[in-house]
C-alpha cells in the first residue's frame, strides 16, 4: 500500500503540492485528474524520489521512503514523452532496469521478452528507438518500467503526445495489462476520459491538493464542489450539479415558447452535445442520442431527471485536507 502523507513542495515560494494526502491500496489503480499546472507531475516526482518534499512522508507498505534515493525505491515511472535512451535499442531500454538489479543474462532475456510481448512489441528487440512511432515508443517506455517488477508504477500523462485513435487503443491495452499484472499504479492526467477509463478510483487535484477521491461513478454522481463539477463536465445550477445525460430535450414550435433555444450542437460519436441557452440567460449542456436531435436555433423544452441532480456542498472538500493524527 502506498500512502502519501501531507506532502508539500514549493518552488520559489509558490506551492506546487500543498499538504497533499492520498492512499493507494495494493493492486489498485488511482488516476489523479487535474488541469495542467495543478502539481500532478511534482506529485509523481516526489513519490519516485526525484524531488524531495519540503515536508510530509511517503510510505510504501509502512516503510518511509523519503530518505531512500530514487534508484533504491523500486518504483517504476513512465515519463511524459517517454524519456527513452536513444543510445540503446529497444532491448537495451527494456533490459536496463534488470541489468541494474543484477539479473543474469538469461533472466534478462526471458523477462524483457515477456514484457515486450505484453505490450505487443514482440520481435522489436533490435530496433533502434529512433525508428519507432510515437505509439511504439510509448509501449517501450511501459515495458521498460514494468520489466523490473516495480512495487508501484507511476504514469505521467502516458498518452499525452499521441493522436486520439491511438490513445483509445493504448488505453484499452493499458487497462488490460494492469488487470493482468494486478499492478499498483498511480497515474496522472488532465484528460477525463483517460482517468475514468484507467482508474479504479479517481482523485481530482487542484492547486496542489486532492479535492475529491472516489470511483468514477461516485465522482460523477456526487462531485464535491462547483469547480469539480465543472471540471468533470457537469452543469452547475442553483447549488446543484446536473448531469448532461439526465436532461431530456424536446423540440417545440417556435411560437410555443419552451425553456430555451439550442445554440450549438456538437456530435460526439454516438451522442450529440447540445448547448442550450435558457430563457433566464443561463447556459446548459445536454447530451442526447444522436438519432434525431434539435438543430441550432430550434426552441426546446427541457426536463431534468432528478436522479441526475446532486447537491453541492458549500464548504467544499474540507475532509480531504490531510490525515489527522
Amino acid at each position: 500500500m502506498l500512502r502519501i502523507e501531507n506532502v508539500s513542495v514549493s518552488f520559489g515560494g509558490k506551492a506546487a503540492l500543498d499538504r497533499l494526502a492520498l492512499e493507494i491500496a495494493a493492486g489498485e489503480v488511482v488516476s489523479v485528474l487535474g488541469p495542467s499546472g495543478s502539481g500532478k507531475s511534482t506529485l509523481l516526482r516526489v513519490v519516485a524520489g526525484l524531488q524531495p518534499p519540503d515536508s510530509g512522508r511517503v510510505l510504501l507498505d509502512g516503510e518511509d521512503l523519503v530518505s531512500v534515493p530514487a534508484h533504491r525505491r523500486g518504483i517504476g515511472l513512465v515519463f511524459q514523452d517517454h524519456a527513452l535512451f536513444h543510445h540503446r535499442d529497444v532491448w537495451g531500454n527494456v533490459g536496463f532496469g534488470l541489468r541494474m538489479r543484477g539479473d543474469s543474462r538469461q533472466e534478462i532475456e526471458r523477462r524483457a521478452r515477456y514484457c515486450l510481448d505484453l505490450v505487443g512489441l514482440a520481435g522489436y528487440e533490435r530496433r533502434s528507438i529512433l525508428t519507432l512511432s510515437g505509439g511504439e515508443q510509448q509501449r517501450v517506455a511501459l515495458a521498460r518500467a514494468l520489466a523490473p517488477e516495480p512495487r508501484v508504477l507511476l504514469l505521467d500523462e502516458p498518452l499525452g503526445s499521441l493522436d486520439r485513435r491511438l490513445r483509445d487503443r493504448l488505453l484499452e491495452d493499458l487497462a488490460k495489462i494492469f488487470d493482468e499484472l494486478r499492478v499498483t499504479a498511480l497515474h496522472v492526467t488532465h484528460d477525463r476520459a483517460e482517468a475514468f477509463a484507467l482508474g479504479d478510483r479517481v482523485a481530482v487535484m487542484r492547486a496542489g491538493r486532492i479535492v475529491q477521491v472516489g470511483t468514477p461513478d461516485e465522482l460523477w454522481a456526487r462531485p464535491a464542489d462547483e469547480d469539480t463539477a465543472r471540471f468533470l463536465g457537469l452543469n452547475v445550477r442553483d447549488g446543484t450539479a446536473v448531469r448532461p445525460e439526465a436532461i431530456t430535450v424536446r423540440p417545440v414550435a417556435p411560437d410555443q415558447g419552451g425553456d430555451g433555444v439550442v445554440r450549438r450542437a456538437v456530435r460526439q460519436g454516438p451522442t450529440v452535445k447540445l448547448e442550450i441557452e435558457l430563457n433566464s440567460g443561463e447556459t446548459l449542456e445536454a447530451v442526447v442520442a444522436a438519432l434525431a436531435h434539435p438543430a441550432p436555433g430550434d426552441r426546446v423544452q427541457i426536463e431534468v431527471d432528478e436522479h441526475g441532480v446532486s447537491e453541492l456542498s458549500v464548504e467544499g472538500p474540507k475532509a480531504l485536507h490531510g490525515f489527522d493524527r
Partner: protein, 532 residues
C-alpha cells in the same frame, strides 16, 4: 563513489593540473621578468630597445594584414557555401577545413617548396601561409552564419528598391558583422601568436614576439629578455581578447536564425554557377597546390624522382642525435600520452563544467580556456624556467613533453565534450535512476556512452594537435628524442639536398598522420554506434 568524491575529482584534477603546469610556469616567467631592483631597470632596458619596438610593430602589422587578406580571400567561398546548396557542398566544407588542422611546420615547409626563391623567406611568405592556415576559420564561421540568415530580408530590400550591391552593403553586411568580427578576432589571435610559420619563413630578418622569445631564450640564452617579451605578449593577447569580446558584443544582432535547408537554394543561372565554380576552384588550387608540391619535392632526387629521402629516414644523420625514423615513433608515443592526459583532465573538467551552472563552474570553464590565449612558446618557455630543478627537471623527464602538449589540447577536449554532456536530457538520467541505477552507474550508463563519441572526436583532435605541436615542444624535447616537427626544423637548418629532402619527407609523413586522425574523427561523427 559518492557525489562528493566525484565532484572533488572533476574539479580537483583539472584545477591541480592547471595550477602546476600552467599557472606556476606563468608566474615563474613574471618573476624572472619583473623581479625588483636593478632587474627592473634591466626589464625597462629591454622594453625601450629599438629591436623590441620593431618586433612588436611587425607582430601587430603582420597579424592585421594576415587577417584582412584572409577575410578577403575567404569571402567569395563563404558566400557560395552560405547561400547555395549543391552536390559536394559538404565535401567542400570538409576540404576547406583541412589546412586548419595541419601542423604549422608542414604549412611553412610546403610554402618553402612552392614559392619562388625570391619570395621564399620574408613577410610575403608569412602572410600567404597565414592566409592558407586560417581560410578555414573564416569560411566555416562566416559561411555557416550566413546560411542561417533570413534570405527574405534581402528580398525585402530589393522590393524597396535596393540594387544587389546596395542591398549587400546596407542589409547583408551589417547582419554578417558579428560573424566577421568573430572570425577576424580568431584569425588575428592565431596570426599574432603564430610561431612555426614565422620561424621558418621569416628568415633571420623577420621576427615576431613569439619567435623573438624563442631567439632570446634558446639562441642568446638571455632568459630575462625572453621573460620581458613574454609579458609584453601576454598583455597584447589579453588586450586583443578583451577588444574582440567588446566588438562582438557591440555588433551582435538578435533575430531570426533559419535552418540551413530553408535558407540555402540551388545554383540556378549560369552566372551563379560560374561564380561558384571560380571561387571554390580558386580556393581549392590555393589550398591544394602547396601540399601537392610538397609531396612532389619529397620525391625529388637530382633531376628525377625516387624514394631516396624516405629511405634515408632510417639511417643516422648529422642533423639529429637520433635517426629520423625514431622521431616518427617519438611523436606517436608522445602524442598518445598527451591524448590520454588531455582526455582524463579535459573529460573530468567537461563533467564539472556541464554539471552545474554555478559561478565556480564558469570560473573553471574560463580558466580552462586560458592555455589557448597564452601561446605555445610561452608554455614551453615557462616550463623551461619553472621546471629546471629537482624534483621536476624538464631535462630528465620525458613525460614533460606530453604534459605540455596536453595543455594545448585540453581546451579543445572540454569544448567538444561539455556541450554533448549538457545536451543530455535530464529525464534520461532520472529514468535510469528510477530503474535502479546509482549516481555512479547513471554516469557510466547514460553520460559516458552518449559522450563516448564526443570523447572519440576529442581524442582525435588532441592526437592531431599533439602530433603537430611545435612551439612548446621545441623547448622541451631532448636532443636525443626529437618529435617530427622538431626534426623537420632541425633538417631545415642544415644545408644539403638530402637534408632538405628528408625535411620534406618527414613533413609528408606528419601530414598523412594528421590526416588519418582527422579521418577517424569524421567517421566517428557520422557513424551511428551501438553501445549495448
Amino acid at each position: 563513489m559518492s557525489a562528493r568524491t566525484w565532484r572533488g575529482l572533476t574539479y580537483g584534477v583539472p584545477l591541480a593540473f592547471l595550477a602546476l603546469f600552467f599557472v606556476y610556469p606563468l608566474v615563474s616567467i613574471m618573476e624572472r621578468g619583473l623581479s625588483s631592483g636593478d632587474d627592473l631597470a634591466a626589464a625597462i632596458d629591454v622594453l625601450t630597445e629599438p629591436l623590441t619596438r620593431e618586433v612588436v610593430w611587425f607582430t601587430v602589422w603582420q597579424a592585421v594584414v594576415s587577417t584582412a587578406l584572409t577575410i578577403l580571400i575567404a569571402f567569395p567561398a563563404s558566400y557560395v557555401l552560405g547561400r547555395y546548396t549543391f552536390r559536394g557542398r559538404g565535401v567542400a566544407l570538409a576540404v576547406v577545413t583541412v589546412p586548419f588542422v595541419l601542423p604549422t611546420v608542414v604549412v611553412a615547409i610546403a610554402f618553402l617548396a612552392v614559392l619562388p626563391e625570391r619570395l621564399e623567406r620574408g613577410s610575403a611568405a608569412i602572410l600567404i601561409a597565414h592566409v592558407f592556415l586560417n581560410v578555414a576559420v573564416v569560411v566555416r564561421v562566416v559561411g555557416t552564419f550566413w546560411a542561417g540568415l533570413d534570405p527574405r530580408v534581402s528580398e525585402a530590400a530589393a522590393t524597396l528598391g535596393a540594387g544587389p550591391w546596395r542591398s549587400f552593403r546596407e542589409v547583408t553586411l551589417p547582419l554578417l558583422a558579428p560573424a566577421l568580427a568573430a572570425a577576424a578576432s580568431i584569425v588575428f589571435l592565431f596570426s599574432f601568436t603564430s610561431f612555426g610559420v614565422v620561424l621558418i619563413l621569416g628568415g633571420p630578418r623577420y621576427s615576431t614576439l613569439e619567435t623573438e622569445i624563442y631567439n632570446q631564450a634558446v639562441r642568446m640564452f638571455d632568459l630575462r629578455a625572453a621573460a620581458v617579451l613574454a609579458l609584453v605578449q601576454l598583455v597584447c593577447v589579453a588586450l586583443a581578447v578583451w577588444a574582440a569580446t567588446r566588438l562582438e558584443a557591440g555588433l551582435a544582432v538578435g533575430g531570426w536564425r533559419g535552418r540551413e535547408q530553408d535558407v540555402l537554394r540551388p545554383l540556378r543561372t549560369p552566372r551563379e554557377r560560374t561564380f561558384a565554380a571560380i571561387s571554390l576552384g580558386a580556393l581549392a588550387l590555393f589550398l591544394g597546390v602547396p601540399l601537392a608540391v610538397l609531396v612532389e619535392r619529397s620525391l625529388a632526387v637530382g633531376g628525377g624522382h625516387g624514394f631516396e629521402a624516405y629511405r634515408a629516414l632510417g639511417k643516422p644523420t648529422n642533423a639529429l642525435l637520433a635517426t629520423p625514423w625514431e622521431a616518427v615513433v617519438n611523436s606517436i608515443v608522445y602524442a598518445g600520452g598527451a591524448t590520454a592526459i588531455a582526455l582524463v583532465c579535459g573529460g573530468l573538467a567537461a563533467f564539472a563544467v556541464a554539471g552545474s551552472r554555478r559561478g565556480g563552474t564558469r570560473l573553471l570553464d574560463g580558466s580552462l580556456m586560458l592555455p589557448l590565449g597564452a601561446s605555445a612558446v610561452m608554455l614551453g618557455f615557462g616550463f623551461v624556467i619553472a621546471f629546471d630543478t629537482e624534483p621536476i627537471d624538464f631535462r630528465s623527464l620525458p613525460w614533460i613533453v606530453p604534459v605540455v602538449q596536453a595543455l594545448v589540447a585540453i581546451p579543445f577536449v572540454v569544448r567538444i565534450v561539455a556541450p554533448t554532456l549538457r545536451a543530455i536530457d535530464e529525464r534520461q538520467r532520472e529514468a535510469a535512476a528510477v530503474l535502479g541505477a546509482s549516481p555512479g552507474r547513471v554516469r557510466r550508463e547514460i553520460d559516458l556512452p552518449v559522450a563516448g563519441r564526443a570523447l572519440g572526436v576529442a581524442a582525435g583532435f588532441a592526437f592531431a594537435i599533439s602530433l603537430g605541436e611545435f612551439g612548446a615542444t621545441v623547448f622541451l624535447a631532448r636532443p636525443d628524442s626529437p618529435t617530427l616537427p622538431v626534426a623537420i626544423f632541425r633538417f631545415l637548418g642544415r644545408p644539403g639536398e638530402l637534408n632538405v629532402g628528408q625535411a620534406y619527407a618527414l613533413a609528408v609523413i606528419l601530414m598523412v598522420a594528421v590526416a588519418l586522425s582527422i579521418l577517424v574523427i569524421e567517421r566517428l561523427r557520422r557513424d551511428r554506434v551501438s553501445w549495448f
